[in-house]
Symmetry: C2
Subunit: 199 residues, 2 copies
DNA sequence: GTCTATAGTTTGATAGAC
DNA sequence: GTCTATCAAACTATAGAC
């Protein structure tokens, strides 16, 4: 509230335009692929010329960076990683399906988040922060649920990442690998779940 | 043997040059990324100028296509997917490790084979043939080993693909996910392995 | 705040000399 | 079979008018 009303309105308008640009960028990479994004086409899609984009983003990489942060934030919205021992299996099933559905809903987003395929692009620490937060939450959730094996987190992410990747690569838009999610969660629980009896 | 000796020697020389170009291409994409390959740089690496490459490949995509075929053929060299019921676990462990090691040894190769990330590139049927052959062999091996569940093949490839992807993305050059291969094979066997007792 | 104009590169690919 | 020369096009990014 230290800003004057006018500059506040201006900055709000500016944020709205940035959001509009990012929205158009997501549409565009959905059509031409993540690496196929060009500033000319992006500008045209929001009714601008390419140079005008530089009023909102310092570079093309800055746009990718903002997209990365949005994508990581989207994944973080899965706040239902709350896990209780009494409902462990149901909680993990819900979390797994939410992650799988979100990750496979947008191939470009999955490529940006989970693969290092853009030449020269590295997400900034700020953009990466939500991803770290997601891992932390998942780790805490596992502890709460009684899953304590040090490799549990890596195993969980590998299981889901494998299904997501195969779904996107071999059956985009289908459900050939989605049908395996439940089974993989049970495989995970059988190996990493809390043991009924002591060792 | 229908060719004259001279044309045979010429064509042999030609094949050798093509192989040399492909070798340089693998080196190059290992440094600049799969999408970063440029014909100028590639030509320079074999002591040519860019236009000369067109004597050996019709286009840049043709080079990618030949690389894809080589990569798929490399994977097919894992002929130790022979599986017998008596040695099922050991056979699968060996096959899993061979696949994992080969797939993670070259990030660009993994990207070319397992991800659809090159804008506009689709492997030709000829280049794809070894990949299909590999799947067929794996399927036959599973049947021989008593693994008959219709989802077993998808589950197996998902498990391995997840580990490979995470290894390449989060710990390139390390062994953080390689250490999970044995465990994943056992998880797979516990769920999809032949049952001791009839149903 | 958006534009025109353009710089400066890089790219894949072709024509034609040698 | 390799070259020089070059095309035509794309790209990111900047300068400066309005």
């Amino acid at each position: 509230m230290l800003e004057t009303p006018k500059s506040d309105r201006v900055s709000r308008r500016r944020e709205a335009t940035k959001a509009e640009i990012l929205g158009a960028a997501w549409d565009l990479v959905g059509e031409v692929g993540l690496a196929g994004l060009s500033l000319r086409d992006l500008a045209a899609r929001v009714g601008m010329r390419a140079p005008s984009l530089y009023q909102y983003f310092d570079s093309k990489h800055a746009i990718y960076d903002a997209m990365f942060q949005q994508a990581a934030q989207d994944m973080l919205e899965i706040r239902s990683v709350e896990v209780a021992p009494a409902t462990l299996r149901a909680d993990l099933l819900r979390a797994a399906h939410q992650f799988f559905d979100l990750a496979t809903a947008n191939a470009a987003r999955a490529q940006l988040l989970f693969q290092r395929t853009l030449p020269g692009f590295e997400p900034s620490p700020a953009a990466y922060a939500p991803a770290t937060e997601l891992i932390n939450r998942l780790q805490q959730a596992f502890i709460n649920g009684g899953i304590t094996h040090p490799d549990a987190l890596d195993a969980w992410t590998s299981l889901l990442s494998g299904l997501v990747n195969q779904q996107l690569a071999n059956d985009p838009g289908g459900d050939r690998y989605k049908r395996l999610v439940d089974r993989f969660v049970d495989m995970f629980l059988a190996d990493f779940g809390p043991k009924k009896k002591g060792k």
